[in-house]
Symmetry: C2
Subunit: 163 residues, 2 copies
C-alpha cells in the first residue's frame, strides 16, 4: 500500500467507534454491533462486553471471530456512492482477558476516555474485556482498491507515515 492508503486505514481503525462483530452461534454466523478500542500498534482490538450478550457467549465457546469497521455512511446524502466507503474486515481470535491482568486498569482508562458513557459497565459484574488478536485483514480503500494484510502488515499500518 502507498502512504496515503496506509494512513487511510489507520484513520479508519482509530476514528470509528463501532464495529460489526461476527461470531459462530450453533455453527452459523451471528453479526452484532460492538464498541471497540484498538491498541496503539493494532496488534490487538479490545471489546468490553456483557456475558449476557449472545456474542460474548459465542466467543467463550469458540474464539474465531471477524470484525468489520466501516467509514461512516450518510444515507441522507445520495450523492455519496456507498460502494466507495473505506472498510476493513479483520479475522482473528477472541479471548477473555484474565481478571487482574496488569493491562486491565490501563484498558479501563482508555475505554472510558473513548466511551465516557460506559462507566456503568465497569460497575456490573457481567462485563469483561476480550482481546481480539488479528490473524489477517482485508482492506477495501474504495471501489476496486483491495488489500490483503497479514497481522504484521496491520501493525506496520499503525505507524503514522505522515510524520
Amino acid at each position: 500500500m502507498d502512504d496515503g492508503t496506509t494512513a487511510l486505514l489507520a484513520r479508519l481503525i482509530r476514528g470509528q467507534r463501532i464495529a460489526a462483530l461476527g461470531t459462530l452461534r450453533q455453527g452459523a454466523p451471528l453479526v452484532s454491533m460492538v464498541l471497540y478500542l484498538p491498541s496503539p500498534n493494532f496488534s490487538a482490538l479490545y471489546l468490553h462486553v456483557s456475558r449476557l450478550a449472545w456474542h460474548t457467549q459465542d466467543m467463550l465457546a469458540d474464539g474465531r471471530i471477524s470484525l468489520s469497521i466501516v467509514e461512516t455512511d450518510d444515507p441522507a446524502s445520495p450523492a455519496v456512492d456507498p460502494q466507495r466507503l473505506a472498510r476493513v474486515s479483520v479475522r482473528g481470535e477472541a479471548a477473555l482477558l484474565a481478571e487482574g491482568a496488569p493491562l486491565q486498569e490501563e484498558l479501563k482508562a482508555a475505554w472510558l476516555a473513548r466511551f465516557p458513557d460506559s462507566a456503568i459497565s465497569f460497575e456490573l459484574a457481567d462485563f469483561a474485556f476480550f482481546r481480539i488478536t488479528p490473524r489477517d485483514a482485508r482492506f477495501v480503500a474504495g471501489f476496486g482498491s483491495i488489500h490483503n494484510l497479514s497481522a504484521e502488515a496491520l501493525v506496520a499500518a499503525s505507524v503514522d507515515v505522515s510524520k
Copy 2:
C-alpha cells in the same frame, strides 16, 4: 413491541443503505460490508454482489448468513453514546436468485433507484442478486431494549402503524 419501537425498526431497515454481512469461510466467520435492498414487506433482503467477492463465494458454499443493520454513528459527536444506537441482527439463508426470474427486472429498477451509482454492476457478468430469507431477528432499540423477532414478526413490523 409498541408502535413507536416498531416504527423505529421499519425506519432503520428502510433508511440505511449498508449492512454488515456475516458468512462462513472455512468454518469461521467473515464479516464484510454490503449494500442491501429490503423487500417492501421485509420477507426478503436483497444483495447485488460480485462472484469475485469472498462473501459471494461463501454464500454459494453455505447459505447460512447474518446481516446487521445499524443506525448511523457519528464518531465526531462524542456526546452521543454509541451503545444506544438502534440496530438489528437478522439471521437467515442466502440463495442466488435464478437468472431470468420474473423478479429480476423489478429488483434491478429498485436497486438502481436506491443505488444510482451501481449501474455499471449490471453490465458486469460476475454480479448477481442474492435473496436473503430471514429466519429471525434481534432488534436492539437502545440500551437494554432488546426484542427477539420471528420472520413473521419482522414482516408485521413492515406495516407503517402510524398511518
